[in-house]
């Protein structure tokens, strides 16, 4: 690469985001100067180094390393999210394919979709009589809607041309599904999955604050009770970074399957 190109790349793609981060840290540093309670960037950094030097320790059920907390949260999200995909995606296909089912479910979906997922937590606790499945249930209910809605939309927007091709070739129902319906719907489906993982990760922190146990959400609450503000700030960054990585993973996945 030539030096001019390198320079241009630095100024257009590398510099702006770095500047943004620097601005945030600067602002935070200034604010920390004026407030006793808010720890500054440097203090938080030292705390983070210490925290991440031993992420996988276990001192009893309520004192575990940050790594375990993140992994536990991710596991809950994966379970709830996986169950939602298992049910939501086939349901989306059916709703998109059959008008009757579409009309039958559309008032239910419109009614239930805007409900805050946390409102479902008591129901989960009541039914499962345990905190962990209740948290998973909340993730399930929060991530199922985008999957149903986007999959159904993808099926509905299937171009008539493709179906005409299927008709002229007289493809079997199975071949229509595997060769036409599924690939045509896949980008929409992945959009739904991406939206769902975003909400699921948002919701898990709040759900864990309420249910307790090992997890990043409860960890935040625990550190609040310990008045360890550095750790809360670290948790905010951790939640943000993990969410960003999940999103990027799905963007990458969607790119691989777009045509």
């Amino acid at each position: 690469m030539q030096t001019r190109e390198l320079k241009e790349m630095l100024t257009t793609t590398v510099l702006p985001p770095l500047l943004g981060v620097a601005f945030l840290i600067g602002l935070w540093g200034l604010l920390a100067q004026t407030s006793e309670a808010l720890p500054g960037p440097l203090k938080t950094w030292h705390s983070a180094v210490e925290l991440f030097s031993d992420p996988f320790y276990r001192h009893g059920p309520n004192d575990q390393g940050i790594g375990w907390n993140i992994l536990n949260s991710l596991q809950r999200v994966a379970t709830g999210f996986g169950l939602a995909a298992l049910i939501g995606i086939p349901l989306g296909f059916m709703i998109g394919r059959f008008r009757f089912l579409d009309k039958m479910t559309s008032p239910l979906i419109s009614l239930l979709k805007p409900v805050s997922p946390l409102a479902w937590l008591p129901i989960g606790l009541l039914v499962f009589k345990a905190a962990n499945p209740a948290a998973i249930w909340v993730i399930f209910i929060s991530s199922i809607w985008p999957m149903i809605i986007n999959t159904a939309m993808g099926v509905r927007q299937l171009p008539q041309d493709y179906m005409n091709v299927a008709k002229v070739l007289k493809l079997s129902e199975w071949k229509i599904f595997t060769h036409i319906l599924f690939p045509a719907t896949l980008p929409y489906m992945l959009t739904g999955v991406r939206l769902a993982i975003g909400t699921a990760w948002l919701v898990i922190v709040a759900a864990e604050m309420l249910t307790g146990g090992v997890g990043i959400g409860f960890w935040v609450w625990d550190e609040w009770n310990n008045l360890n503000v550095e750790h809360i700030i670290i948790a905010i960054f951790v939640v943000g970074i993990v969410g960003l990585l999940l999103e990027q993973l799905l963007v990458w996945l969607a790119k691989r399957f777009s045509y």
Partner: protein
């Protein structure tokens, strides 16, 4: 071998919100084996509807259609369609798009190597062997349409149905593909029904031109025999008096006898 495709007193009525809409009435048409027939008319004259009836994508409200002595009761690979906007499946390569049809038609009787060979032959026929592994979005509009034609021909249909196959292409690409189509049809002796709104295209390619009156309730107005000798050459025809006479006849039908109401 007469009357390979037969349309008997076909009538097509659509139920719309404003009530019944008669698209086609009293359609009588016989097409011989190996014949190239064009359907021409103003937009909304039901020429695509007639093609879809032969394809079996639509069923007539009354009347009967036959292909090779059998009633047309639905779509099938024996009446392959080349769609206006190519309709290739974007998630499959050119090879896979063609192979899908080949597998459907010959999969039960032939082994994998033979199916593969048929697909490659079809690609070679439209001079696209080099694009075998390309996806539709990686090739030009003209190439996509050629893959569409190859897909249809690879199924060895009894009739090749084309719905304005070159309508979306630029003039130069269109001319090039028309020449190629003429060669392919001569080679494969296909029976072709083509919908077009291009007078030059109709005269250049067809053995007969079916001219349709304006809708609603459109029907066949006149049928013109194009008795130009084959092989035809567009440059030679440009100075051919008989070509211009035939062209004039189609133009007269379209713009004098049945001028479009909005245009008039």
């Amino acid at each position: 071998m007469k009357r390979y495709v037969q349309v008997e007193n076909a009538r097509m009525v659509f139920n719309t919100r404003q009530g019944e809409f008669v698209a086609l009435r009293d359609i009588e048409l016989n097409i011989e084996r190996g014949e190239f027939v064009s359907l021409i008319g103003h937009s909304g004259c039901g020429k695509s509807t007639l093609l879809n009836l032969i394809a079996g994508l639509l069923l007539p409200s009354s009347g009967n259609l036959f292909c090779a002595g059998r009633e047309i009761a639905g779509p099938g690979p024996d009446r392959a369609v080349v769609f206006q906007n190519h309709s290739l499946l974007p998630w499959m390569t050119c090879f896979e798009n063609i192979h899908l049809g080949v597998e459907r038609v010959f999969g039960a009787t032939e082994d994998k190597a033979k199916l593969r060979q048929r697909t490659l032959d079809a690609l070679a026929l439209v001079h696209l062997s080099h694009a075998e592994k390309k996806y539709p979005h990686e090739i030009s509009g003209g190439m996509k349409q050629r893959v569409g034609i190859a897909r249809a021909l690879a199924m060895q249909p009894k009739v090749l149905l084309m719905d304005e196959p070159f309508g979306a292409l630029d003039a130069l690409t269109r001319a090039h593909l028309q020449d190629e189509l003429m060669k392919i049809v001569a080679e494969t002796r296909s029976t072709v029904v083509m919908v077009t709104h291009d007078v030059d295209e109709a005269v250049l390619l067809s053995d007969r031109i079916v001219m349709m009156t304006n809708g609603p309730a459109a029907t066949i107005g006149e049928i013109l025999d194009v008795d130009l000798p084959r092989p035809r050459n567009r440059l030679a025809l440009a100075n051919d008096a008989h070509y211009h006479q035939l062209r004039g006849a189609v133009l007269e039908f379209l713009y004098q006898k049945h001028a479009h109401k909005e245009a008039a």
